[in-house]
């Protein structure tokens, strides 16, 4: 599954789950109804697998445990672990979901702030990478290319692209 958060998906999802939990304190009911409401959502596969497994006779807590490692976002994984523990011991789902909705809202807001902060530097780096690449090619075309230029160019671009990917994955 994709690791994407900070676009309001988690808050929205937890909100719908909370609303259905207010109707009935039953996990299967809540998951089925949220899947009906938001079919093509971020964790759609997770919900689909859960419903399939429960229909085929597996216990709800076990069905969650089977797919929990496939959720990319650590926050949502934490939520699912909490839900799993609640199911096993017959706890109150509504309480937990409303708490996590509040937390998700705050976390996604700060992640949005991070994204805005990084955006300018990101464009700067992309510009620099493209300009250096063009300069390297230009030197090739003019016949001014030498061996050490490749030795500088390749590791520097590889390093910057790797770092770029890592940072974007963290903040986007």
């Amino acid at each position: 599954m994709l690791k994407r958060e900070g676009r309001g998906e988690n808050t929205e999802l937890l909100g719908t789950m909370k609303r259905w939990a207010a109707v009935d304190n039953n996990v299967v009911f809540v998951f089925r109804k949220t899947y009906q409401d938001k079919g093509g959502m971020l964790y759609g596969d997770f919900f689909e697998n859960f419903i399939l497994r429960v229909n085929s006779g597996i216990e709800p807590s076990e069905a969650i445990a089977m797919d929990i490692r496939k959720i990319g976002s650590p926050f949502m994984r934490n939520v699912m672990i909490n839900i799993q523990s609640v199911i096993e011991n017959n706890g109150d789902l509504l309480m937990i979901l409303s708490k996590f909705e509040h937390e998700a809202f705050k976390i996604e807001k700060t992640l949005l702030g991070n994204r805005i902060k990084v955006h300018k530097d990101r464009t700067l780096l992309l510009l620099m990478i493209s300009i250096t690449g063009m300069a390297y090619l230009r030197l090739h075309l003019l016949g001014l290319h030498q061996g050490w230029q490749t030795l500088v160019f390749v590791p520097v671009t590889l390093l910057s692209v790797w770092y770029y990917g890592r940072i974007i994955r963290e903040s986007y």
Binding site: V86, I96, I107, G113, N114, V118, L125, V152, F153, I167
Partner: protein, 231 residues
Amino acid sequence: MLLVQFLSLSYILFYFIEKKLHWKYLEKFEAFASAALVIWGVLLMVVTLRNFLDPLKTILRVLMVLWLFFLGKKTLENQRQEKSQVMLYEIFSFINNQLAAGLRLEDIIGNIHRVIEDKKMGRLFRERGEIFKENYDLELYLVELGRHFDPEEFFYVAYSLRNGFNLGMQQELLSYQQEIMFNNYIGIIIKKGDRNQIKLFFIALVQALALIIFVSYPIVIELMGSLDYLY
């Protein structure tokens, strides 16, 4: 080469000290070890550089080594603190949420290991939880786990567990504490964003340096050639 050897040796030493020792001895040991390592490094420097002893250069080298050493130490400490803060927040929120959902504390303690991402700590929590289920000795559980965390941060987790076990729930107090810990967690996320910004800027700088070298190299070569023609 010597510098690299020295730095790598010191890092390896600190890594083992951090992993193996109890946190109580760690501070004293760290102070002693850092002082000893610095003296050792200075002596090595003096011995190796005595043949071409330039006082300014040696002082600069020593200062550089010291700076690198303390920078590494500080970053390691920060990383450890951040990791433990996030972990403790996750544990605390798990306990608090489950208590709010109406579970018994005995059931909660058995499930804490699920929240923890770190494999080693997860194994420890699972083992301790199983022992707790056998003898219901909360103090033993807390003492054994408290060794692996900063005592100031671990205090509130212990507090919440004791409250839950002995007095039932004190939901309001615990929720205030959770709010504080959550704000710390948010602060860590914000700090990460700032750090990413700085990192991106420095990588762009490296790219710019490479570009400058590419462009200026032929110009410099031509300039040298023209200087030869002139004189």
